[in-house]
Symmetry: D2
Subunit: 474 residues, 4 copies
């Protein structure tokens, strides 16, 4: 199974800071801003110039940290991580940043993304005698660095990075330096900022806004930033490959107030909503409503372009958290209701345009359509602000296998039938690319569209072909 190649570094967020007297607290704020990228675990590793110390835990940022814990690890630099996990891959030993001790000093690594050749590299390393403590991809990098015969440390890191395939934003910290690397396609966002005399790095710019840091620029694909007390130096571990920023970051992953490569996420979504309205001008309806929170921007755009009034037809419960009651069939239906409620007087007797950002399995869409119809909606027109998702993502978004993607085996009308909608419209690939409107000139304007087109920017390794081990490590 191709899917088994995939490790556990699903969508996550990273944050780093160098040259600040309060790195633990600022990392806490940084992770707070990135919380939407991972709710399963959080960690901060702080350097005081001599030692690296970790604070980690499973759960939300506010559950993991408290004032006493942050005070206990004061220093001058830190890297930090929020973690999203698929079922079964939890466990405190997988919470990042990973921290390794050795007689030559400690090393810490935080990773956002997913490697496509992790399985191969692990097998190779195990044959060389390596022992793995976590099931995370990230540990592979530590072993490759350790085993590299190059010198000094940053040369080892460059050597190790050159063996990786896939999507990654890495923060690598020793007591002397923080190295920042982004894969040659730039599949995951990563930005550099400035705070006073120090430097910050984060998966999304919203983390800079919260701590009052100033955005400097995106880290370039294939670039290696070396941050020390002397400042930031730019190096490369690889030539930039074809740019391929994940389109889904714009569609639903990133926070609306973040900018990715200069494009504001809310504005991009609103433009996608307007484009969607243009692409389904035939629909006649009374109200437009978005599925909160990620589809609100597109819904506003749709309403503005179509002239159909925008309403709160669905509201989200702010206090959902971890509901403990185990799902029987009846309770699973209620589970959706605990998160989302229809506003009966808005939808009753109305022709409703329901804007959502994407359809994966179709089950959630089916439940929401049913909820609107049960509330009295006369018609439900589902409009999706992204194209049909036909292929799995191997770069860190948990869309699982072909089997689970309804659009990989059903055409639009079959999906419409399955979700019980009166009409169903997806945004066109071209419409999406044009309205995201990234400032690059190639045909995809620097987007990765693999999940819509099946054209993966990197090689994809079937598990069974064990390649050329001896050539892996030079």
């Amino acid at each position: 199974m191709l899917a088994e190649l995939r490790g556990l570094n699903e969508e996550c967020g990273v944050f780093g800071i160098w040259g600040n007297p309060n790195p633990a607290h600022l990392s806490y704020y940084g992770l707070h801003a990135l919380q939407h990228r991972g709710q399963e675990g959080a960690g901060i590793v702080v350097s005081d110039g001599q030692h690296l110390r970790a604070v980690k835990g499973e759960g939300l940022v506010n559950d993991v940290f408290n004032e006493d814990k942050l005070k206990a690890v004061n220093g001058k630099a830190a890297i930090a991580h929020v973690r999203y996990t698929t079922a079964g891959g939890g466990g405190i030993e997988n919470v990042q940043p990973l921290l390794f001790h050795s007689s030559t000093g400690s090393l810490s690594i935080a990773h956002n993304g997913n490697l496509v050749n992790a399985t191969h590299l692990k097998q190779y390393l195990e044959r060389q005698g390596s022992i793995f403590h976590s099931s995370s991809d990230t540990e592979v990098l530590a072993h490759l660095i350790k085993k590299s015969s190059h010198s000094p440390f940053r040369a080892k890191v460059k050597n190790a990075l050159s063996l990786l395939k896939g999507a990654y934003s890495f923060l690598i910290m020793t007591k002397d330096e923080m190295l920042v690397a982004r894969d040659p396609h730039g599949l995951r966002p990563l930005s550099l900022g400035k705070l006073g005399d120090g430097w910050v790095v984060a998966s999304e710019t919203c983390a800079f806004d919260l701590i009052g840091a100033e955005f400097v620029r995106s880290v370039e694909p294939g670039e290696l930033l070396i941050i020390t007390d002397e400042g930031v130096k730019s190096d490369r571990f690889a030539e930039m490959d074809k740019r391929a920023m994940c389109a889904m970051e714009y569609v639903y992953l990133a926070r609306p107030d973040s900018d990715i490569d200069g494009i504001n996420v809310h504005m991009a979504r609103k433009r996608m909503g307007k484009q969607l309205a243009r692409e389904c001008a035939h629909i006649e309806a009374d109200v437009v409503t978005g599925v909160p929170d990620s589809s609100i921007s597109a819904a506003i755009g749709f309403a503005e372009e179509s002239g159909i009034p925008y309403e709160l037809g669905l509201i989200k419960n702010r206090y959902v958290g971890r509901t403990f009651i185990q799902p029987t069939q009846e309770l699973r239906e209620r589970g959706v209701k605990m998160k989302l409620s229809p506003v009966v007087q808005v939808v009753k007797g109305k022709r409703v345009v329901m804007v959502d950002d994407s359809i994966v399995r179709g089950t959630t869409s089916r439940r929401i359509v049913k909820m609107l119809k049960d509330a009295g909606a006369a018609e439900v027109h589902v409009v999706i602000s992204s194209p049909p998702m036909t292929d799995p993502c191997y770069y860190g978004i948990d869309t699982s296998t072909h089997e689970e993607l309804i659009a990989s085996s059903h055409n639009v009308d079959e999906i419409r039938e399955a979700i019980g909608a009166d009409t169903l419209t997806f945004l066109s690939v071209e419409g999406m690319v044009e309205t995201i409107a990234r400032p690059y000139e190639d045909e995809n304007r620097g987007l990765c569209l693999a999940c819509f087109t099946g054209k993966y920017p990197t090689e994809i390794f079937p598990d069974t072909i064990l390649p050329h081990e001896k050539e892996l490590l030079r």
Copy 2:
């Protein structure tokens, strides 16, 4: 101080169910839907026809309950409560429903609202030898019931209720019956619903939607419902006085998907937003944004009416929870940012209409205006979807004293100055009354407008006048 008359039953939510095999679990769902009315504590008291047993705790519904605790108190009926507390009035002994044991059986009470003569009644009862265990108003009712010489139980309750002044929705449960009472002005909402063969009662109708119950009708002001295994009987403990439903329930307190007296809350807010747009047609602006979550509906209405595009200029962090870091001045500013972020590319260089539901002290408004200006807004026009709040509420909303209400001592232009806005517009009282559009014909259309007008529907008791004790209890 008038303010000291006020007890601890600030805004809260109540839920009750009779004649269902799963009352503890359904109460849990009910409280979940009412969570926005109180986050400090939650409790459920279940009756199995013989005994009443309580599960209670401080914190959110999901923190207080778990499957084991709910299973342990199975039965056939329950009353439940979520609690909102002002600083200092916490403590597990104040978490409701209160439960009292005696040789003649147990009694449990849940209360939403605030009594204005609680201090008088407590002093009277103490002179009669009563001992109070909580600092809550609600305990007063238990003592009055106990001391009443009437018979049977429901007559005691009617006698006791007749002595209370103020706002209240009470659920009173013994092993034999559940009594439901709403004050003669109907200051707080309370609705009756049906679930299978059983009955449910809740502060807001959104609780019915979640559990699949059907709305039957509002409980009438002055009405006493008596729910037993025989069904529901309607009685009265008082004549209905002038209707006076709290206007702030429509403005910001209730959930948008609840209906109060047949009026949907979201729709009322949207109409208020439209009216507000009509009342400030002079404002020229580029974008409309609402302060999430409670002002979104009004902002949508404002945008629709004014034709100015609606944008997400401010987004709310979904993961705020309990932030532990203690507020220094710098951190307090960041505290607001942890909850709310401006979307820079939306507001930069724009003339922004910022819709909010109300101004109490003005400090939060000032911080949000500053946040927008710091993000580059060219102008910030603050529009408020309710009139200036000049007088304190004694009926359960924590607006504190005259001193703390900026509108009690400052005119609109002074407030505008204080919050740093370019213009400031409040909705007119008439505009609010007309657009809420309740189906009653008196001048206020059955609303309590005391906080805007100073005209309180009930007598307000200064602490010092100790009235007519002997006449209190007949």
Copy 3:
């Protein structure tokens, strides 16, 4: 059922301190020393001269309190309590000291002992309109004080105490004074000590030793101590009745390093062991072993007098705590083994004298005898350092009903048979009285022997006779 008269104040411990800058911390130490008297809950109520504030919780002293909680309630005086509960009577609302608020000030009460007329008094008080919040006896006293028409406060207390029957050591605190009362028979121990310029009171003198306080004297039966900033004044609420200190305090309840009425508990137990050896001089054996911890002193005495070597034939696991695994029959047997282990090489092939302090149901004795025999003991001679327990205790020791006391329906040989011992010897009543050797001259030397003789020092009230209510309160 007579047994139902009994409330929930089973064996407990009280501690009080007045006139010290650190009352919360010293109460914590005091409760720590009294932990053996109650492990179900603990509480401290502190007075700062203005307000009373409580810290309470279920569990052990070290689980309930921490530095932050103690710091938060600083003041100048405190009363404190550790609680022992029988099954079903738990709940945070029963954890003492109880704290009552009223407009004339707060009142706190801690109680060690058991009232025999609590049910009557509760029924009476309920008819007068009182509402009870806990199922504890202690609340009765608060209501009686509240209802008393006497004045000043200490006269109300004397009036209320005069209505109580049974065993009690009470600490009663307002912001102005601490009242200390012991029942007219002196059924439970209570001592006064001095610490610097302040005063301390405790159920056992071991609490004084831990905090470095000096023992002053026992509180007299029927005495009321009034402790204020002016010092200690002695008053009486009743004449001293026939002294009747619970014999079981010497036998197993109190800590060996405590003195009760000048008699050290360990020394009394050792003398009882010696006397027991004299009373069963016929037994031939190889080793003497005690059931830890409470029978060690008696076993040492027995060995010394008999000349049979004392050995550790049974050892106690120091880390028992709360074992969570639910008892199946097999696991229940293991449950005893988790607490107690035989030392095989000590008992194998030996004739063992096993010293225990008492036999209640006989089930534990049976298990220990079996454990010794399974470990290879050739003979097991059980010797008990107290007489057969034939009658229930109504004064606070949880020996339950006649039905449960094996000695109420079985003679010594039948009990021997039931527990599987080769011989069984109980200490004689006379032997016990003589060797405890209290300094009083009456026939029982001031001991309560009710559980061995059925002669109760107080009236015992059958539940059904409702006596003279009107005369109760003058």
Copy 4:
């Protein structure tokens, strides 16, 4: 510093079970019996024949496990560990059994003892590219096994064990087998038992008694037991070296009801106490008392031999647990009192023989002598049931450095002076060896006496000499 060679595997306890349907629960009981060997952390790794799964945590066995956690890891075999840590070496990553995953299957290791060449081996392994995740010695073994070129698995293990120097009892589990190894000197105890058709292994025999297993024999020094579904096979990874069982296991470490190499611990201690009485026949005294719990057996022996009555002059508080209050000088004195109390009426005016098991720094002895004198003891004669401890232990007992051992730099009279005793007597080395009376014929009768004599059974590696790396791994 020699001391830095020492890793973190201080005194601990191991338990293993193979071929039982309830391995998690039985391991819980086994760890419960071994709790005295380590209170800082506990873990169980269970095999279901396919996968290994871990339950671990910091704290006591009863805090770490509960029914739900044990149920969740059902299987057919388990290894388990309780951990004792010196300050600073905590952290969940050091809690054992360690668990390693690889594509060829998982591996788990539990370790009691201390390696003396761990630092050398770690440095060697790091040069080979190994990365360490814990600071524990135990991880070294995993890497050595992984790197061994031998085959099959058990040959790798034998190869790896042959490189270790020091004290160790290892349990090593894969899904197919459990390997059990004890160092060639047999420095730490390890026994094999039988339970039904399955096999158990434990540091002490008291674990067998609790679960109803039958003792089979000690694991031999240098022996490797291979336990599979086929049964137990005995192999060797090394010739047996000179036997050297830690004498301190008999003196204070092991539980009195355990047998080590056929010698019961309580009986050995009692004999040491008797010998001590013979060695200080000159002392005239009134009472003998032991410092609980570990010196009770010796004190009983001393009393029996000397004819001086044995008394409870010191009692131990059963509820000490984790006292949270931070030690000021005053509170540190109280800290001892919270654990230990003198029984004033026993010691007042008496000449007291105080029996203790050992003197390390002398500070605790000084506090206890002072406590007895403050309680009125006329004379305090300290007698120690082991010889002066002059040299540090490198095999797992935390006696720290020479500097900290008072007997390494002070003679007996200087120590007496330092602790404030009237006389001080240590047991002679010969007296100890004779009265422990192990069934071996060499001069030490198979005991390690290094801490009393400085003669270490193994080579001790100074940190600086980096030996023969190439020869380490063949």
